[in-house]
């Protein structure tokens, strides 16, 4: 009988049943998709890193190395499981052409290497270790889509031509956020290419499972081993790998949470409407002795069935959508080790969503218990009178809330998108607020070349401002007496500042700013002191600022002054040009001038850097933002149509009466539109405000997980104040008009039958 009851009830209230199912399905779908994508991303990255055997500790080094000292260190250090030194031949980007596309504008450090012997393997598209033959080359997989490459096409390196044999996955440098890219060639070809670039070393260690990577890093620094380059650890590699796709998934998660809130609100409202309509039936059931629990169960079972259907629909949609959305992820990292894990995670996500919805339904159904049999049978409202009286205003409140949440859902990804796309975003990632950046790295006489470049820049009239930042490897002594290695960037950090999560840029002689990662690792905070040693000189510093940084391994520091003159690891210049200067021609000219002076400098337009480094992330967030706009518009449309229809059904008598006394359908529609006006305006304003203020906090939390702290939105006002409200107004207006169509079916004589 219960089956018939549920089925007949659904048939009798098709609109409510379909809407409820729709909300449950959409909420289930979004959460299932989020969990599926998360599980797959983590699974894919882990599978790739396991198969490639990513090193736990990696020291990049330019210059000579003593293999013997490294071997001895590795043998004596109990934390070391495996050790190897790989060579990486850094090439001029202008020397590389991929099937006719020159990499001269690439901001990546591109180079060639041979397959590793022990670990840190480069893998093919099946995640198998690549064996490359002479004359063949494997290209980083991220370039396949970017340059539309296919196997069998030609890669030109200087005068040498190579046949693309396939595309490689590099567990360390797969992400566009990693600044280097490795091409794989045979040993013979590598030897032949050696003269075309500068060789640097990747000193890699696999550590015991129990080993502390940070402790190991200190031991390595203490041993005085080669360290002319950044240190990268496995957690940072994992973070870089998960960053671009992870951000998109986090946006989907945010959208899911908002959708769940909307679903809860709407389902609660439809349920209350139904309970109101069924109060006499409920009273009768109570009167004949059916217990509160049993009556609640009758209603609850219907929602249980709908949530089951919703979960299945959501799960199926998630499995279908995952294929398209995760295509890039799969290309980059390969399939997740176990697809079942993803499906189980998706199932768990859908089940959790439906569980939350069912809990909220159960809570709403408890209100029914307050209704006494006598009140219902005697036609009295009792405690319900208040509720009934308030239902229309409650309904408008829900519509305003849904519009507000919809706008919030549209605004948040849009703001994230405009922020990440903006030039200033790099300042959250440890890069100065300049137009152009020049890097001198992995070359001899960095100090001398830095001076030369400085001279070129100060002598150029087109340069508005420029600053030179020199990075030196130092040792830091903590209050507890321990010592650790630290890369300190020295210079005037106020000219092109990064964004500081706390405090300000170092200005005084004894001030130092630390990256968040560094401050966390050293257990230091603003105002704390530390001792810095460069060569034999020691100086006491106070921490004046903390900033986020994902460059150079993420563990960096900035100071205005350093004691002593330690060997420079690298130098960075930030430049801004005077108005009217043609940036592209200046870039080309600068690169040529420096190249003619035999100074190997990487000159980067920061706008291009953003596009290159965050391009994929921006594309994915743009997709997520687009999906969010569509989903929000759809939800707003459905909710407003539903609520308008319910409103018209409730007001049927009044509408009929108005018609009887001479109002036209158009007059009545105008009345409703007028009533909706403040609701829509309130919803839009609330949505925009919350999307910008609360959204900033939420996005800040997300980006903090990804390394960017002290986050503020860089708002695209045209999108947020015009486009999004415009979409919302058109959607809601269409929905109201559709919902009001029922008015034409209400006859003037209906009111003569009295209120039902």
């Amino acid at each position: 009988m219960r089956k018939r009851m549920i089925w007949n009830n659904m048939k009798g209230n098709r609109l409510l049943a379909v809407t409820t199912w729709l909300f449950m399905a959409v909420s289930g779908f979004m959460f299932a998709l989020t969990c599926f994508l998360f599980a797959n991303l983590l699974g894919s990255v882990d599978t790739l890193m396991n198969k490639a055997q990513t090193p736990d500790f990696l020291q990049m080094h330019a210059g000579e190395i003593s293999e013997e000292a490294l071997v001895q260190f590795a043998e004596e250090n109990q934390n070391v499981r495996e050790y190897q030194t790989l060579c990486f031949l850094n090439l001029e980007n202008s020397a590389i052409t991929l099937n006719g596309h020159s990499l001269k504008d690439s901001i990546q450090d591109n180079g060639v290497c041979v397959q590793s012997g022990r670990f840190d393997y480069l893998l093919d598209q099946d995640n198998e270790i690549i064996r490359v033959s002479a004359g063949e080359i494997y290209v980083p997989v991220c370039y396949r889509q970017e340059y539309d490459l296919r196997e069998g096409e030609i890669v030109q390196i200087g005068e040498e031509s190579f046949l693309i044999a396939g595309f490689l996955r590099d567990s360390q440098m797969n992400s566009m956020m990693a600044s280097s890219k490795r091409f794989l060639v045979s040993e013979a070809d590598y030897d032949r290419l050696k003269g075309a670039g500068s060789e640097e070393y990747l000193i890699e260690f696999l550590l015991q499972e129990t080993a502390d990577v940070n402790g190991f890093a200190t031991e390595y620094a203490d041993a005085g081993l080669p360290s002319n380059g950044p240190v990268i650890t496995k957690p940072l590699i994992r973070l870089m790998n998960a960053l671009s796709d992870g951000l998109m998934i986090l946006v989907i998660l945010l959208v899911s949470v908002i959708l769940l809130l909307i679903s809860m609100l709407c389902i609660r409202f439809t349920l209350l409407t139904q309970l109101e309509a069924d109060r006499r039936e409920i009273g009768m059931l109570k009167a004949i002795g059916i217990s509160k629990g049993d009556i609640r169960q009758i209603y609850f079972l219907k929602f249980l069935v709908l949530s089951g259907l919703g979960a299945v629909t959501g799960l199926l949609l998630a499995v279908l959508a995952e294929g398209t959305i995760a295509a890039h992820m799969r290309e980059l990292y390969g399939a997740s080790g176990n697809r079942m894990t993803g499906i189980v995670a998706a199932f768990a996500g859908a089940a959790l969503t439906e569980g939350i919805l069912l809990l909220s339904i159960r809570r709403t159904l408890k209100r029914m218990e307050k209704l006494s049999a006598v009140e219902a049978l005697a036609g009295r409202q009792g405690g319900g009178r208040k509720e009934k009286k308030h239902i229309p205003s409650f309904q408008y409140l829900i519509v305003a809330l849904v519009i507000g949440l919809g706008i919030f859902m549209m605004t948040l990804p849009q703001n994230l998108l405009s922020t990440i796309s903006a030039l200033q975003f790099v300042t959250y990632m440890g890069i100065g607020d300049g137009e152009i950046r020049l890097d001198i790295r992995q070359t001899e006489d960095i100090a001398g070349k830095t001076g030369l470049v400085e001279k070129v820049l100060t002598g150029d009239e087109r340069v508005e401002r420029s600053v030179t930042l020199r990075t030196t490897s130092c040792s830091v002594y903590l209050p507890d007496g321990s010592r650790s290695g630290l890369q300190v960037e020295q210079g005037d950090h106020t000219v092109f500042p990064v964004t500081y999560a706390e405090g300000t840029a170092p200005k005084e002689k004894n001030e130092i700013a630390l990256s968040c990662l560094c401050a966390d690792e050293l257990g230091l905070s603003l105002g704390d002191g530390l001792l810095l040693q460069v060569e034999e000189m020691i100086q006491e510093y106070t921490i004046c600022g903390i900033y986020s940084d994902i460059t150079n391994g993420g563990k960096t520091a900035k100071a205005a002054y350093l004691p002593g003159n330690g060997p420079l690891m690298w130098s960075v210049f930030y430049v801004s040009l005077k108005d009217g200067t043609e940036r592209e021609s200046w870039l080309a000219e600068c690169a040529k001038t420096l190249s003619d002076s035999d100074i190997s400098v990487k000159v980067v337009d920061i706008q291009e850097y953003v596009a290159d480094t965050y391009g994929q992330t921006i594309r994915e967030i743009r997709m997520a933002a687009g999906v969010a706009v569509l989903a929000a518009a759809l939800v707003m449309f459905v909710v407003v149509v539903l609520f308008t229809r319910l409103l018209v059904a409730k007001d049927r008598y009044d509408i009929s009466l108005r018609k009887a006394i001479g109002f036209t359908g158009r007059d009545i529609k105008k009345l409703y539109l007028f009533r909706y006006l403040p609701v829509v305006v309130t919803g839009i304003l609330a949505g925009i405000l919350s999307g910008n203020l609360l959204g900033e906090k939420l996005a800040g939390l997300l980006l903090k997980m990804l390394g960017a702290t002290g986050f503020h939105f860089l708002i695209d006002y045209k999108a947020v104040c015009v486009r999004i409200p415009g979409i919302a107004v058109v959607t809601v207006l269409c929905a109201i008009l559709l919902g009001l169509l029922e008015i034409k079916n209400i006859r003037a004589y209906e009111c003569c039958r009295g209120r039902e």
Binding site: M1, R4, M5, N8, N9, G12, R280, E281, G283, M284, L285, K286, A287, I288, G289, I290, S291, K292, G293, D294, S372, A373, V374, L377, A378
Partner: protein
Amino acid sequence: MSEILIVKNLCKDGILKDIGFNVNDGEMVAVMGPSGSGKSTLLYQVSGMDRADSGEVWVSGTEICSLSEDERAGLRLERMGFVFQQMNMLKSLNLIDNIMLPACRLKKGKSFGKEVEHWARILMRKMGIEELAQRKITEVSGGQLQRACICRSMMNQPKILFADEPTGALNQGAAQEVMEEFTRLNQEGTTILMVTHDSKVAASCSRILYLLDGSIKGELSLVGLPEGKDREERVNRWLAGMGW
């Protein structure tokens, strides 16, 4: 004859004032009185749908005023049947499912469905509505629906059946048919307490209680009086004497 319903000093919201009466097993008692006299309120209190402010109500040996809401619901389901003026039935169920509804809570087990349906059909046959079993509630007449309500009230073979204006929403013919069913049920041994405005309906009962301003102002026993016009006239005269 044992007393199936005992009401002592019942008070409720100033509507019922110190009411006391008994109903014996097998009796059919009508409660009459002008609008606002407290008839329906009395019915709600004695059937446990509502809790009295003070006083006692004993239904087949159980004092119900001290029971919790759920306990009273259980007692209503097991020992009482209800017929209302508005034939409240669930729109989502057909006629026979509505009739079977009270039994679903009580009888569970493998043979439950068949047993209950069999019993529901027997009741429907007795009421002459068996052929309407699968109809929706919107597809039958008011009289048929009220007879279905009587079937539903009898599903758990209650000790006492409460009826609140059972013919109030019916035309004369349908009302007559429904009353015949009540009389038959009473003759078969079902105790009935009925609130009514209709003197003709009251005349078919064995006793009439007259309620005015929340107190019982009079009581008329019709036991031994023959059926027919004389009985109705006797009731009308008595009611006129009460100020009806």
